[in-house]
Amino acid sequence: MKRWLMDILACPAPECKNELHLEVYKSHMVESDGEDVEEIDEALITCPKCDRWYPVIDGIACMLPDDLRMTGKQRIEEEAFLERWKDKVAPNILNNGIPFGVKP
């Protein structure tokens, strides 16, 4: 994911559409057209209005609606993301994140 994506996207939650906040945990530089471009591998996207969080996993911003995040493989991947970065993720997200946090 590139930083410029945050200049384009707003929060996808229904009725929210607020500006998003990005916190980069891991990124690397790639060369493209002779220029160095930052590729974000892992990051946390948060919405200050509806308090949802969205992960960037393996370079892809995961911004699915709540119902598609709550179960299955996606839930497992997103929980693993919180676990992986629990030293950096804010405690209110870990404990009471929307749509979920980490299991106690």
Binding site: K2, W4, I8, A13, S32, I60, L64, L68
Partner: protein
């Protein structure tokens, strides 16, 4: 870049090989994607220097093709993460990683900070799941000045879609028919490969001159 070069470049992409039937995904053939993109740029100047979205991007062929034709930025959104992983690999393969990006999400929920220039989309055909193509059109017309969208051909569908587009605040400015080869990717397809007719719609919204 010439049309032939764009075709050859897009043909080197990795295509997705297994499909989710409920999503009615049919990969856009490289030759058709190239023809659509080339005409959008040469006839209308809708790609070069523009902010482009590919709704239901699958393996990313429209977004990557747009980037190759000089789009300022091209973003693909899809609800399937394995499709986006293919898009990422394709983008790296074709050297468009600085101007493309990918979002895992539901097209209907996509929210942007500001209107964009152009949408390119090969939405679900909406045969098995009624209205799936209209959900994509509604979003496209609400965010983009110009939309290029592919739909099943046929007189009845043309009348229906023209009216639907008008209800959504858009105007159909052009329809072009393509023959779309569908490989036998679903079990209910009986022939090895069959041709279907697909219409490409060019749609302007209220901001379009």
């Amino acid at each position: 870049m010439r049309l032939k070069d764009l075709e050859i470049t897009l043909q080197s992409m990795e295509r997705i090989s297994d499909y989710d039937i409920s999503l009615e995904q049919y990969p856009t053939p490289a030759t058709i994607a190239a023809a659509v993109l080339f005409s959008a740029e040469m006839d209308h100047g809708d790609i070069g220097g523009k902010l482009v979205f590919d709704l239901g991007c699958g393996d990313g062929i429209f977004a990557i093709g747009a980037a190759l034709l000089g789009a300022k930025k091209a973003v693909g959104i899809d609800v399937q993460s394995k499709a986006l992983k293919a898009s990422q690999r394709n983008s790296n393969l074709l050297g468009t990683e600085d101007t493309t990006d990918w979002v895992l999400g539901d097209v209907a929920d996509l929210a942007l900070k500001a209107p964009i220039d152009t949408v390119l989309s090969n939405p679900p055909f909406g045969v098995k799941k009624r209205g799936a193509d209209l959900r994509f059109l509604r979003k496209a017309i609400s965010i983009a000045r110009v939309t290029y969208s592919m739909h099943l051909s046929g007189e009845k569908n043309r009348v229906f879609l023209r009216n639907a587009v008008e209800d959504l605040g858009g105007v159909v400015t052009q329809i072009e028919r393509f023959e779309f080869p569908i490989p036998r990717i679903y079990k209910f397809h009986r022939k090895e490969r069959h041709m279907i007719r697909v219409d490409l719609y060019r749609i302007c919204n209220a901001d379009c001159e």
